[in-house]
Amino acid sequence: MTHTTRVSLEPAWILHQHPYRDSSLLLEVFSQEYGRVGLIARGARAARSRWQSQLQILRPLALSWNLRGELGTLTGAEPRGRVVMFPGRQVLCACYLNELLLRLITRLDPHPELFSAYEQAVDALADNEEQALRLFEKRLLQALGYGLLLDHEYDNGQPVEEQGLYEYHLERGPVRREQANPDGLFLQGSSLLSLHRDELQDVRSGREVKQLMRAALGLYLGARPLRTREVLRQLSSLSRNAPADMATLSPNSPAG
């Protein structure tokens, strides 16, 4: 016999939602203590649903549900804290975070430390987008058990030096090199160390770390491309001669 879990007002975010049956929604939720959960919100698409304006992505929520088997049933939803309006660009970056979570973590695998990393990243998007995204990617890899070695060479244990040049071997770590070649993944020691210290201030380390993260995540994402990346690409080709805000989205878009 399956046991029913009742969860009450758990801090959570909606990562994505799909229409379900006639008037319901299937919510993909990321919660503090239970990790990813799939919840059915019955009647949420009906004209007079009490949940209609409540159940949205990028809103801090407190959700209650009953879970029996794989999908739960939403029993309550309340706002948690102030509603922040995200400008268009941050919505796309946050959707990128959501897509990474949906693709890389499985349902009902608790990740409380990743939950707080997600909240920090969403908060920090407005101030320093690149840094917010890269640090979340780093935490995500750690949570999955694939944390990157950043401050030591993997073969001889030598500490990474600011001035050195390193080739990064995925799933192993950095190794010092005299010069770069076009086939490898090369970074300055200073880039590795700034990621290690969680501070990505300068442009060069931002670019190098982004390449490293993209390659590292690529190992686990597999061949299927990220949809948010494709949408960012389309926006960039649309806005080739658009003003600054859109033009900066891509091709050097923060989400890759």
Partner: protein
């Protein structure tokens, strides 16, 4: 079920309608067969013609069997006003309850990156070309006040700004007859952000 293949198939097919479960599908099927065969024949014909012939207007993208829909080809409409909405149902709603005399652009959805719905699916290239033609003097954003609807509005307004077209946004907020304490935080903060001089 009932020993008839055709009836079974009819009931199954009716279930594609929103709000129709197995019970009501069965009731509809028997009703048409027992009491209203003419109505059923008309329904069948209307359905098959609409499914075959209705496409999208080449100007505003709304559903239409004409290349250019009746609204877009109506020379009484003011073509310098362009209202951007998410769905054909939104056009209906605005037509029925406002005195708007301009024309529309129907996105047929909103930005939804995780579903792969981006600028191409929303026809933003078509909208950009339309704005570049200098016919439009004011673009009115009437997307839904959801996170994705707002993001869509943001990018549409960026395109309009790049083309030098004035952009306005319909007001969102406290419903008529609503009381502040019962309104959810999102709606209330929208209403507050969009406050106006009195």
């Amino acid at each position: 079920m009932s020993g008839s293949r055709l009836i079974g198939r009819l009931i199954e097919s009716l279930r594609c309608l929103p709000g129709v479960g197995p019970k009501s599908a069965q009731r509809m099927a028997f009703h048409l067969l027992e009491y209203n065969r003419d109505g059923g024949r008309q329904l069948a014909e209307a359905l098959s013609m609409a499914m075959e012939q209705v496409g999208n207007c080449s100007e505003c993208r709304t559903l239409s069997e004409q290349t250019i829909c009746l609204l877009c080809s109506n020379d009484q409409r003011d073509r310098s006003l362009l209202c951007v909405v998410e769905t054909p149902a939104d056009v209906q709603a605005l037509e029925q309850s406002t005195g708007y005399r301009g024309v529309y652009f129907v996105l047929m959805g909103h930005l939804s990156p995780l579903d792969g719905i981006g600028p191409e699916a929303l026809g933003l290239d078509l909208l950009e070309a339309r704005l570049a033609s200098a016919e439009v003097k004011e673009l009115i954003l009437a997307t839904n006040p959801t996170v994705e609807g707002e993001a869509t509005a943001h990018f549409v307004s960026e395109i309009a700004r790049a083309q030098g077209v004035r952009t306005t946004r319909i007001a969102h907020g406290v419903p008529m007859g609503g009381e502040l304490e019962y309104i959810d935080g999102g709606t209330l903060s929208h209403a507050f952000a969009g406050r106006q001089e009195v």
